[in-house]
């Protein structure tokens, strides 16, 4: 079996190469409740990470994996960089829950990959768009078990705007988000 190609950092110089106009607006063929997922990415000192590439992949409003494209870009995929305050924003639709091969239910969630200078490999995780009591049977929620760690993956509804979900990501140290290996 051939060995997989090792990962290397995306480095600091990708903005002109990898970013797209409207990359933060996720396309779907069907309807759905429009939402925005936004927050900041922080390092181990609590400083904002201003040069991260933040990517999302998610199911549509019915919980179906997107396939195909609108003729210009793929459905279901978002790609932005963080700004000088470490902030990212993804405008998308609320994903529906979906079933796994064993009948298990995946709660509404978005798969996230973060790349940056200083990250020799992608950081993969999933952000939940539902409160703790709704996600408790999700396969990842069960695998994490510890509610304090699980909370690092739960986006919270903005008190003033019910279409905005806030999720901050700490890569290291206090409040460090849970990251995954597949």
């Amino acid at each position: 079996m051939p060995k997989p190609t090792p990962s290397q950092t995306v480095g600091p110089f990708f903005a002109r190469e990898l970013l797209w106009k409207d990359g933060g607006i996720v396309l779907f063929p069907g309807r759905g409740d429009r939402i925005t997922l936004t927050g900041q990415v922080f390092d181990g000192n609590g400083a904002p990470i201003f040069d991260a590439l933040f990517e999302t992949w998610q199911a549509d409003a019915n919980g179906t994996s997107p396939s195909g494209d609108d003729g210009s870009r793929p459905y279901g995929y978002g790609r932005v960089s963080t700004d000088t305050e470490g902030r990212y924003a993804i405008e998308t639709v609320m994903p529906g829950p979906f079933k796994g091969p064993g009948g298990e239910t995946y709660a509404p969630q978005i798969s996230v990959a973060i790349f940056a200078r200083g990250l020799l490999k992608a950081l993969h995780t999933r952000v939940f768009l539902a409160p703790l009591e709704v996600i408790k049977d999700d396969p990842l929620a069960r695998a994490i078990a510890d509610p304090d760690r699980l909370k690092t993956l739960i986006a919270t509804l903005d008190a003033k705007d019910p279409k905005v979900y806030r999720w901050d990501v700490r890569l290291r140290g206090a409040g460090e988000a849970v990251f995954l290996e597949f």
């Binding site: 090792p6 190469e17 494209d69 597949f182």
Partner: protein, 227 residues
């Protein structure tokens, strides 16, 4: 990244590469199977990629400075199967080691005829071909007298989100590989996998050097647990 591939993938924390110290997670990763969503991935339409984007040397009014090269290779999965119709994005410094990027403060000239950005879809056998110029080495401030070896950045999608990979390709015989903490972060068994080989006949006679570099992505599903 699967734990079973720790023999080829770098760790998150590699203190010689200083930026990892505050960005590498301290907690162990949680191991889960890819969700049904993550065994699928974005599908790029054919028209997303223009054929001309595989040639980085035709962007300007005339040819860019530097050593022209053709890079060919295949994108495979761990079972050796071709990864078909999959997006490959590349970007790189110009022949002087300069990126057209506002935060690149290296005092080397920009080349008005070189943007250093391209993309290509693999064919039905997983093959790709790009034409470019060899990127220059450049200094960086990680450590005293630090220089990055010449490299081309690659962004790969495979056919599943769980296969997503960003990496760098290096050149054979480059003495800077020995002092580059980013390259050296890869365990010894993996390092050769990042180095292209000279393949002169893939070049253009009298015009461009030929190189070959194959890439391998993990399978789209869960990697079996090693006990």
């Amino acid at each position: 990244m699967a734990a079973t591939h720790a023999d080829v993938h770098p760790p998150y924390l590699y203190p010689d590469y200083k930026s990892t110290r505050l960005r590498a997670p301290a907690q162990p990763l949680v191991r889960v199977a890819p969700s049904p969503l993550e065994t699928t991935g974005p599908v790029f339409p054919k028209q997303f990629v223009k054929e001309s984007e595989a040639d980085l040397t035709t962007w300007g009014r005339s040819a860019p400075l530097g050593e022209k090269m053709v890079l060919v290779g295949r994108l495979l999965d761990e079972d050796g199967r071709p990864v078909r119709r999959s997006l490959i994005e590349v970007w790189q410094a110009n022949a002087s080691g300069k990126y057209p990027h506002p935060v690149d403060d290296h005092e080397a000239p920009l080349d008005p005829n070189f943007l250093g950005k391209g993309q290509v879809l693999t064919d039905d056998e997983g093959r790709y071909r790009i034409v470019t110029v060899k990127p220059g080495a450049y200094p960086w401030q990680n450590h005293a007298f630090g220089w990055r070896p010449a490299h081309i950045h690659f962004s790969l999608f495979g056919n599943a989100y769980a296969q997503r990979l960003i990496t760098q390709m290096f050149f054979p015989g480059d003495p800077l590989l020995a002092i580059d903490p980013i390259f050296q972060s890869v365990p010894e068994a993996g390092r050769n996998l990042l180095i292209a080989e000279l393949d002169l006949e893939q070049g253009l006679e009298g015009v461009a050097l030929g190189y070959r570099w194959d890439m391998v992505l993990r399978g789209p599903r869960a990697t079996p647990m090693v006990v």
